[in-house]
Amino acid sequence: MSDLRESAIAVSYIVAAVLFIFGLKQLSSPSTARAGNRLAAMGMALALGATLLDRQILSYWSIALGTFIGAVMGIYFARTVQMTAMPQMVALFNGMGGATAALVSVAEFLRLSRSSELVGKGESTSIVLGTIIGAVSFTGSLIAFGKLQEILSGKPLQFPMQRAINALTLVAISALGAWVVMGSGGAFALWIVFAASLFLGAMFVLPIGGGDMPVVISILNSLTGLAAALTGFVLHNQMLVVAGVLVGASGTLLTLLMSTAMNRSVANVLFGAFGASGSSAAAAETGVHRTVRQTTTEDTAIALAYARTVVIVPGYGLAVAEAQHTVRELATDLEKRGVNVKYAIHPVAGRMPGHMNVLLAEANVPYDQLLEMDQVNGEFPQTDVVLVVGANDVVNPAARDDPASPIYGMPILDVDRARNIIVLKRSMGHGFAGIDNALFYHEKTRMLFGDARQSLTEVGQALKSA
């Protein structure tokens, strides 16, 4: 703390770290979450402002221009993206953070190896690890984005020798990385490590099914945090270490919580090659009773109008069709007729935990009508009609009954125990897990094919004359 400027930076960093911690704390409770996010943003502003005072910085124009371009891009995407596309937006931003960490590591290595000072083992280890983890997080996030945005197929992509290629890549990265740390591998070796890590990140996420993307994004999120912390060791900056590790640790815990909600182990998500082998078995098995019973919007309206209790099960199909407002209007009409309407929210309905709650809240669905899985499962036997709107895997009874199914053991909504089931679906296509759903062939189930919003609108019109 030789002078005022350095002290100011140090104190700002400490305050910023405290703001991050309180921000995270508040983010984990619904009533304070928004304030928590703003607190963390204040911490960020303080940390970045203080950094600009650093004497190392000689030229400001590239910082100003870069920040401007990045900020405009980030804010534009963040503000214009549909609520339904939030998960992939998080993936995209996470990938950018990963890329930043990797680029900072590489650039700092280039700078250090040009100067006369010897690169210490601590620095070079951090540089190599930061490059690897940042690059893996970058391409991994881009693939996750592609899968959720449906640019890439949501199905697990597999090809021969996949594991062998991944293992070889990992060995090559480790060997080259060690060579760089030992001081003999130069910048060229680090560039190869960078490129191979980019490749590894893509290969790592491609074989994972779209339904598991929330867990994958959470893992990549904590990895980016770790990469940011590693750049802190390289640049001797405690602020980076603290904030990066905070994200790395809380992200890891969040990953565990999420996979618990889906009753899958993290290892199973990453290496399970989910849906590839199980789908054929499941398809063969359900081949016996493959009759699907279709229904019309008029019949649906009548079934709903004369029910005493209706439970709506929203899924990703509702989000895609942006039918949250239509479904709410239909529910209001039903309530006017004296029907008791509830919504059953599976913990991982949609693409991410909490996704459905956010969408339905946007449509002003009263909070007390949203029931969680444990609350609602006991009520299904007394429910007259269950309306499944674009949900698939979370209502698949195979998860409960069929030990051969790849999703066996995942907690589901027991909608097959209700008196009548109406499923709104675009087609007989598979859910994100890529497996067949016995519910659709159930004798109590009626299928209403078509775009969810349009179907619901038509049901609403038919309801008026019912």
């Binding site: 891009m73 980030g74 503000r79 609520m83 953070g97 680029l103 940011a228 640790a249 919580l257 909490g354």
Partner: protein
């Protein structure tokens, strides 16, 4: 090992405990916003990018630093804004509920 590295490792380990402790009891409704919020916080790495870009002595390092600043800034600004938009929905819900209650009264 240098004194500074040891200090850094201390900070690293302590921060792990804080990170675990601080979100230990989060309801599943908040998993996505919390992930998004932490996603914005690791955008702090833009700070490293600023230091690299600002002190670059070759064109290559300067270019790498510049790209890193762009990506990092997108991570920070986009991350906080997208989280805020998600959480806005929770506020709306309370407002909607209040409006409903008023109507009933």
């Amino acid at each position: 090992m240098s004194q500074e590295l040891i200090l850094g490792i201390y900070v690293f380990i302590m921060a792990i405990f804080v990170g675990f402790e601080v979100i230990a009891r989060v309801p599943s409704v908040l998993h996505t916003p919390l992930m998004s919020g932490t996603n914005a916080i690791h955008g702090i790495v833009v700070l490293g990018a600023m230091l690299v870009a600002g002190s670059a002595d070759t064109t290559l390092v300067h270019a790498l630093g510049f790209i890193a600043v762009v990506f990092g800034a997108a991570n920070v600004f986009g991350g906080f804004v997208v989280t805020d938009r998600m959480l806005e929905m929770f506020r709306k819900r309370d407002a909607a509920k209040e409006a409903e209650e008023k109507k009933n009264v």
